[in-house]
Amino acid sequence: MSNESATRIRTKPALSGVVNEAIDRRYGAGFVTDIETDSLPPGLNEAIIRAISARKQEPEWMTEWRLQAYRHWLKMTMPDWAKLSVAPIDLQSISYYAAPKQQPKSLDEVDPKLLETFDKLGVPLHERARLAGVAVDAVFDSVSVGTTFRKDLAEVGVIFCSMSEAIREHPDLVRKYLGTVVPVGDNYFAALNSAVFSDGSFVFIPKGVRCPMELSTYFRINAGHTGQFERTMIIAEAGAYVSYLEGCTAPMRDENQLHAAVVELVVMERAEIKYSTVQNWYPGDEEGRGGIYNFVTKRGDCRGDDSKLTWTQVETGSAITWKYPSCILRGDRSIGQFYSVALTHHRQQADTGTKMIHLGKHTKSKIVSKGISAGRSSNSYRGLVKVARGAQGARNHTQCDSLLIGKQCGAHTFPYIEVKNPTATIEHEATTSKISDEQMFYCRSRGIGEEDAVSLIVDGFCRQVFRELPMEFAVEAKKLLEVSLEGAVG
């Protein structure tokens, strides 16, 4: 029968060596670049929003849009339904705008220190970018500083620029789509983002164009006390295709930093968007001090018939993750997919999953979620599969597996299944991979050490998700997990 949601959790006691090492691994990307930032004073009110809008030289309608969102937000309260324990956030103590002082006109003018930062992170700018064949719109704090491969993209009509630039140069496009997937009053953090968003990426793939390269943005939170409020928008017109990569890493910080991003995707007839994320923000120290608060609203609207949207995420960072990349399957025969690996340790908390809203006829969705929790962390999957009354022949298959490493962590599963159409059908059955005595015994009997065996099995546990990542990201994701397991072996 149909609409499958299955979860299996099974753990093994003999992992203590692995656990301790995994927990003790240091955060590799923790460093602060010393650049003067030109920030607005902390606080949030209409004047601040007008100031942000003015600095970004935005048109009047944009300012009004932000203010409308702000007034909405004032009436809202922070959601508390997630299985997270969130220390109170003082939104008045945050500075809502920070930009590097020197405004570069080309890559050559970019602050060398900044480039050094990207270098440490392995962002392929300059020649490396060309060699890697990746166009990078690197966002440093809140303003885009370098964009490559614009020309190559422009030739086929692809627009890939910062959100601020898009508002200035393609106002009609932005105005047409902004807030149509995630309305200003959608939720507390989305409303906040709409009011104060600083920058982000804007991608437009015209009709019938297959984007010639994978697009990538590296975000990096840098200045202390600045929330990062990214706004990303990707529009794939009829028959278009794009694969978008997003990677995140932030320097060490003692105070919690808020990140409330909004990502809106629009997929028209026969178009396809692949959105991949590797998230490795600072998770806080062993005691849970510091670390990023990651409250993200990501949603894609499969507006056209036969459209397809794939979310793939590897989440290893952040102190708190609150994130549910969703698909609205509006077009007939549209397809939504969600592949996720979420790893938590120390005192990290993650409440993440997806929403698949089946509205069109013969829509299909697939959810594969792998949770690994260690230390004293809490890792929850929360997913909604909704089949509307008119979604004739909808199909969904959900599989979420959890792996518990250690005695003090938690792994939770909260699926919501709401079905109003009696023709919803599915034939696929869930499969699980877990560290069982048999698996361990098999590896050991082949002469593989205990730690190596665990690393091998965990890799296998996540493979189904890694396979969905573009090659460059798959390498990084695998490495991220390896780093945590490497220590375990040695």
Partner: protein, 442 residues
Amino acid sequence: MSACVPLLDEVLKQAAVGQPYFDGAESAWLAQLRQGERAVLAREGLPDRHNEAWKYTSLRALAQQRFIIGDSEAGQRPVPETELHLPGVDGPRIVFVHGVFRADLSSLQEMPAGLEVTTLGQVLSTGAASLRSWMERPIADGAAAFERMNLVMATDGVSLRVKAGFHIEAPVHLLYLGIDTDAKLAWHTRAHIELQAGAELSLVEHYAGSSQSEQFATVVSEIRMHEDARLQLTQIQHATEAVTLVRHEHFHLAPRAHVGMHTIELGGALVRHEIETLLEGEGAIFDTCGLFAPQARQHVDIRLDIRHQARDTRSSATWRGIADQRGHGVFHGGIVIERGADGADARLHNKNLLLSDRAEIDTQPVLEIYADEVQAAHGATVGQINEQALFYLRSRGLPLAEARRLLMVAFCREILDGIFPQSLQEYLAERLIKHLPLSMQG
């Protein structure tokens, strides 16, 4: 609390006046407990759909209704003899009409050794301390408004105890009846069931009646299982479709205690059934199977909350739902494995058939795991009758309606098969077929 909630207003008004509960055996602690809970109820009101535990069940229509609380004639209302029997359930019979114990309808003459059946009023008048500690068990936040309402308003109830080491062979029949009356009645009753160490009991809890007028009832059952006790519990609910029924069962399982439970939910207009189980002792086992089948405009909301608190505890839950016409089925299967409950094994499966484009199924299997070295699995499906199976049967000459009926009963077979006593299995299969609007689809 919102300004106008007639349902609650009536309760609060009556609770404030104070009336003789439990045969007038109201003691000071109970009066105090009730006043305290009344105040909480007045403050919190009824849960709305923003409350996660009530996300899929709206109380808005119910809250606007006005019921007469308690039936002064419940002690005399005639009940046809046929209402009192279930095939094969031939042990002692305990009958409540509108929440009031009816000695004349009950059959308690030939009590098996080791079994004690009394009303709560009688227990209270003897000042039993255990009852007090049970009733003073803290009630959760706003989601448990009906549990609280029951504590404040219950007028009677049964106390059922099996002494240590006794095995009660013949199944005990506990019958709750709602009879047709001119008035819209509300009634609230409780059951306190205790199986002492090594005791065994087979109990059939049965909701039935003929009420065509609207009724609102709450029943709260406290079940305490001591070491090595075994309870075989069969619940049959076929109240009329004029009845709103809210039930809450609270199980405590000591080491190696075992509860095997089968639940068939057929009747009721709005049904909410909460099963809360604490596996407190090492090696305790809780098995639950159930079937709910909302048709017409029925709304059935099943809520399991199973907490593994000790080592090597086991639980399994197998539930089936069939929603047809404008029926709305809600299933929440919550399993929590607490820290230290190593070696726990929990399984939960919920399969549903959605047969009409006006029907709805919402299912939510939840796992919360805080221990390692555990095994937990859950699964949920929503689908329809397998077209190929249907085709196969029709190709063998079966009419469509017959083929559907066969497949539907097969779908429920896993639940029906385990029911005790066996004589109930065929009886319930027939009732189920009658309940399902199969002919309309033939």
